[in-house]
Symmetry: C2
DNA sequence: CCGCTGGTTTCAGTCTGGCTGTAACTTGCG
DNA sequence: CGCAAGTTACAGCCAGACTGAAACCAGCGG
């Protein structure tokens, strides 16, 4: 899991840490049959309900076909429901159910737990600047 | 490509930035028909030559079978060569060729370029603490 | 009203990168 | 000498993305 050290540049660290954390969170989420992209879709959908497959896909940066698969799974879990009839050309109106918000808060709890472990590794004083630095890279 | 903001926790940022950077670097590496795992294997192999498939796989955190695939590709590229005869039970001794070190330095240049872009986004004073913080999370 | 163009959902197939399972072989040790 | 552990090798599988194509809806110009 480690890698080709020597330098330990910021980019290298970000890539490997990203992968590692992703694996950790995905592993934990599997307990309730979901994954990071499910959490992502769920979060987008709670922040503004009624949005369509394609729109959701655009925001997540995947194709509508891929998003359809994850949403189908979320429907199977009973986490989201469609307010409009299914059908080929008709744009779908989606909403998260009560079970969906429960699942979502649980999943965010999982991420928070991992986040606590992560932050525990960095010096108290460094934490705010770490988050600030990451955030400024994120928005670009 | 963005995601389910609101909080913007460190873990969330690390996961999405990791994915984003990984995509960026992989995209650039594709120009010379390689990828991050090729770079990783190449780097491990340059730091101590003569190591075997399985050992390389262990260090990279993948199975020997997966490592075999990436090494086959590196052989096709002429970046690594095997000093021992191929064959079922005989442990392989691998080495990086001259073309391999050239490819490796080029690839590290690609990563450095991305790294420069990343660091450009964070305030001068924050850079050392960012790297230090990431490093301490990495080693755990 | 007609037709057309753009957007959307859906189905199907494909590709990639990892995995497991199994086989063949070597090596070292009791 | 035989056997267990380690290694390479081959095959098949699976998840998660993708492209391609089909069916359909909505709105607009003529």
């Amino acid at each position: 899991m480690t890698a080709p050290p020597g330098d330990l540049s910021a980019t290298f660290l970000l890539m490997t840490l990203g992968k590692r954390l992703r694996a950790r969170v995905d592993e934990a989420l599997r307990e309730r049959r979901m994954s990071l992209r499910h959490l992502s879709a769920l979060a987008h959908l709670t922040r503004d309900p009624g949005v369509s497959y394609s729109e959701l896909a655009r925001r997540a940066g995947v194709t509508a076909q891929s998003m359809q698969a994850t949403l189908r799974h979320l429907e199977d879990l009973g986490a989201v429901e469609r307010l409009s009839e299914p059908g080929r050309g008709r744009t779908a109106r989606l909403r998260v159910t009560a079970a969906g918000v429960e699942l979502s808060t649980w999943a965010r709890g999982v991420v928070s737990a991992v986040d606590a472990e992560v932050l525990a590794q960095v010096a108290e004083a460094d934490r705010p600047v770490l988050v600030r630095a990451l955030r400024s890279v994120f928005l670009s």
